[in-house]
Amino acid sequence: MNAHHKTDTELKLELQQVEAAKQNPARFDVLYDKYYKSIFVFVHRRTGNEDLSADIVSQVFLKALINIRKYEYKGVPFSAWLFRIAFNEINMYFRKNNAGRVVSLDQGGIMTIMAEVQEEDHSEAQQRMMKALKEMGEEDTQLIELRFFEKRSFAEVGNIVGITENNAKVKVYRILEKIKKIMGNNR
């Protein structure tokens, strides 16, 4: 089940766990156990390095714990807030260190993009698509990654990047248009 799709009871229980952690930081252990793996995977897909991911993840949870009193429930799971912190931490790391980012792709996601840009899925077209991704800005690639390779809803994408659901939708379709154009030029 997608982390964003939780029942009201689950969301209520989670909110109680957050409130408990606000009162006593030691109670944060429940949320830490619950989301450690998904945050680690999220970071590792973007760094491709286990130790670096561990460092970033520890920063993510530390920041979350320090700022948990500022957390406000907005009808989405607590993980949305954690993913957003992780997203910012990863970006901060790459900006500071000027290091090359990793984009984790899978055949399913590639096929979906190919269908969206109305290209036939063969290796030559895939090469052109990757070239197009490289030619685009980092922000665009991140949106494509969240939407097509992690299969997140527009609401989730918006939550992580810090934009509205509608804005995420518009941006993703603009990026697909851009990919289509670049792929056409590289034919």
Partner: protein
């Protein structure tokens, strides 16, 4: 052109490898260090604060010295003209 490296169909790390890095005690320790109020940390353990305080005291000392020197009247010339 952005500096991107593509990983295609690479499986996620196995759970035991991820759990190896999981350490809630360490998180709590880091949290306590990060949120401990400054006044609860012994001065000798915080080099930066120690140096800043030392610098402030030094500047204050110099200012007081200068003010005192200005306030002390210069000794009158007691020599009589011949």
């Amino acid at each position: 052109m952005s500096d991107l490296k593509f990983n295609i169909d690479q499986p996620d790390l196995p759970e035991d490898r991820i759990n190896k890095h999981k350490d809630f005690k360490k998180l709590m320790y880091n949290y306590q260090s990060a949120t401990k109020p400054l006044y609860k940390t012994p001065l000798y353990k915080n080099k930066k604060v120690f140096l800043i305080i030392l610098l402030i005291l030094l500047v204050m000392f110099v200012i007081v010295e200068v003010i005192e020197k200005e306030e002390t009247p210069a000794p009158a010339n007691t020599q009589q003209p011949k």
